[in-house]
């Protein structure tokens, strides 16, 4: 066993042992602990847990790679996946916490005085969360197979087993404390390589500042200017100005923002804090912890791109000999994520934007974060750390999603609708059984990803944006909003979004560069399916207000309920006491 593999096993094994220990230490004894950690989590702890819950394999592995190749266009992910927290903190979290229930469908069911509304919310939640979870399971499998050279399937089973243990045992309580540990692992694993690389390239150890600094090679040229120049010489779009198109960027950013605010596994976390004040605060802490990664990511992306370019073409016209390629190049070629084809037969590597002469026929954007430490010649323990960090990101998000799904089924569907007289002990047992089944379903979907999931996590955001977010907003800010109106809104919002996505199935799920592909003639104002959630949300709002006009407002006791949860003090609505 070589040194790198040994370190990787130590890092992964050590972090897994830690997660198991925490799960055993924080096991849940009641439904309140299982669904909402007994309401006793401090805002700081909750912020950290939200950070891990939120930052998935997509944030950790894919995002910086996307930015590396999209340049300025990648900003949609940075603004979209952080801006949603402003909406959460200002418009949703405090009121939902005041109302004081366990789950998002439960809130919707109460506010819209309707079991149908609750069931519709459960269905929307399951569609959005399942789409999301497949990506996480794939991330776990890929991380194992790349770093530890175990089979993809085997990696997936290991991941399932770990999540199974701490999610079923601990519920929200166990997941919360595990996620705090996972946040620490993932943020360390993300920033250490970034600090090293920033130091190497610019002499500034803070990546956020390094990205705006001059290069350390004595030329006095700013890093971003250099990058613009290098990519432009090879015929690519200029890094700092390459855009996805104005309408697309606007719609995409908005879709990710409101999707963030509508994702049930994140909203659920705000039920775990003891007060309304703490709910507002924990959104702030959450965004601080998220921003730590999200402001480093653009530096990682830009620096990785520059390093890649410089490796292949150290000086203009002096391309790297294929025979002299570095070890990481060979390693990634083996995985098929990097591919070279000597088109002009000169034995040198040529990388340009021109498809006819470009010899780097495949550069998968997902490898940028994972290959980054190796490209920059960082020590092996750093690479091992990145493996553990990627797994922490994928596992923590998977656990949060599983909890959202299983609580929707056991608490909303079974306890709320089918068997209302179930006692607490039975419900706790039921939720553990449902959790077990959910883990198996998620694992199955990870092993056999259905066609529609191959594309994207971003899809889950569109679905949450078009269904759950508008229903919550209207429930809080419009006292008159009625159940009929909200149900029609949710159904038409998610319906329109899903139709648009399925219509584009053939286009969207070709992996690679379809983001920038020229498919525009078929698109609604040039908006891609990933960005369509904002349009779906608009449809949702519009339909709801039209139906409200036609069918009349909500009854007065519901309007009083809204008045009540708009102020922090006073009685909470339900039996869920803190």
């Amino acid at each position: 066993m070589d040194e790198l593999k040994l370190y990787t096993w130590i890092a992964v094994g050590g972090t897994f042992a830690l997660y198991f220990f925490i799960a055993w230490w924080a096991r849940a004894g009641s439904t309140s602990e299982f669904y909402a950690a007994g309401g006793g989590i401090t805002p700081l702890q909750n912020g950290m847990a939200i950070g891990a819950d939120w930052m998935s394999a997509a944030s950790f592995i894919s995002m910086a790679g996307l930015i590396a190749f999209l340049g300025y266009g990648g900003s949609v992910f940075l603004m979209g996946w952080t801006g949603g927290y402003v909406l959460l903190a200002l418009c949703l979290a405090p009121y939902m916490r005041k109302h004081g229930k366990f789950t998002v469908p439960e809130f919707i069911g109460d506010r819209y005085y309707s079991k149908t509304a609750r069931i519709v919310a459960v269905v929307c939640l399951i569609i959005a969360s399942l789409t999301y979870i497949i990506g996480q399971m794939k991330g776990v499998g890929v991380a194992f197979s790349m770093f530890l050279e175990v089979e993809y399937d085997m990696g997936l089973y290991i991941g399932m087993a770990v999540v199974f243990v701490y999610a079923t045992l601990g519920g929200m309580k166990g997941i919360t404390y595990t996620q705090i540990a996972q946040y620490c692992v993932l943020i360390t694993a993300y920033t250490i390589p970034a600090v090293f690389i920033s130091l190497q390239l610019t002499g500034n150890p803070i990546p956020q500042l390094g990205l705006g600094s001059t290069l350390a090679d004595g030329s006095g040229v700013y890093l971003l200017d250099k990058l613009d120049q290098v990519v432009a010489e090879l015929g690519f779009k200029e890094y700092t100005t390459s855009t996805l198109g104005d309408v697309e960027m606007f719609a995409y950013t908005l879709s990710l923002m409101i999707g963030t605010a509508g994702l049930p596994h994140v909203i659920m976390r705000f039920f775990t804090v003891p007060s309304v004040k703490a709910a507002r605060q924990s959104a702030g802490y959450a965004l601080v912890f998220i921003a730590l990664l999200y402001t480093v990511a653009p530096a990682v992306g830009a620096m990785a791109r520059l390093n890649l370019m410089n490796t292949i073409e150290p000086a203009a016209g002096q391309n790297l000999e294929y025979a002299e390629r570095p070890q990481w190049f060979k390693d990634w070629e083996r995985t098929g994520l990097l591919a070279f084809e000597d088109k002009n037969g000169d034995g040198k590597i040529k990388y340009t934007a021109d498809k006819a002469t470009n010899e780097m026929v495949k550069v998968d954007r997902d490898i940028m974060v994972l290959a980054n430490p190796a490209i920059a010649n960082l020590p092996n323990w750093v690479i091992a750390l990145v493996a553990a960090g990627g797994l922490a990101a994928a596992l923590s998000t998977a656990a949060g999603l599983l909890l959202a799904i299983s609580s929707a089924i056991s608490h909303d569907l079974m306890k709320g609708v089918l068997v209302p007289d179930m006692d607490e002990k039975t419900e706790l047992r039921a939720s553990r059984i449902v959790m077990t089944i959910s883990v198996c379903v998620a694992g199955y979907l990870g092993l056999n990803p259905p066609g529609f999931a191959a594309g994207t996590v971003a899809l889950a955001f569109g679905l949450a944006a078009s269904s759950i977010f508008p229903a919550l907003m209207m429930g809080i800010f419009s006292k008159k909003m009625s159940s009929k109106a909200a149900i029609s809104g949710m159904c038409s919002g998610i319906g329109v979004t899903m139709l648009y996505v399925f219509q584009h199935k053939g286009i969207m799920f070709i992996p690679g560069t379809s983001f920038l592909g020229g498919m525009e003639p078929n698109w609604f104002f040039g908006i891609s399916p990933n960005a369509f959630g904002s349009v779906g949300a608009f449809v949702n709002f519009a339909v709801a207000f039209i139906v409200l006009r036609a069918t009349g407002p909500a009854p007065s006791h519901i309007q009083n309920l809204v008045t009540n949860f708009r102020t922090p003090h006073g009685e909470v609505a339900g039996a869920h006491s803190h």
């Binding site: 001059t214 921003a291 999200y294 102020t567 922090p568």
Partner: protein, 83 residues
């Protein structure tokens, strides 16, 4: 009851101010006016690019804490704090 209503309208005013700033730094500076702002620089960053990839995020963090603080004051003023 009137108290609750003026508490709510003060809250709405705060939310409106915050969301206006939220919109301006991200959709405004980061997307719609990015080219104009790119004429200016912040170290090696073009200003519009900086807002899109750094500045908007810092502003979001600040906004949430500012709103939280203002709401705590408002809760005290109307005596509606929770336990």
């Amino acid at each position: 009851m009137e108290d609750k209503q003026s508490y709510w309208s003060e809250n709405l005013r705060l939310i409106f101010i915050c969301l206006a700033i939220w919109f301006v730094v991200s959709f405004g500076f980061g997307l719609l006016f990015v080219e104009q702002l790119n004429e200016f620089r912040l170290g090696g960053y073009k200003l519009g690019f900086w807002f899109a990839q750094q500045g908007s995020i810092y502003t979001f963090v600040g906004l949430i804490f500012w709103y939280g603080k203002k709401m705590n004051d408002l809760d005290k003023k109307y005596n509606v704090e929770d336990a």
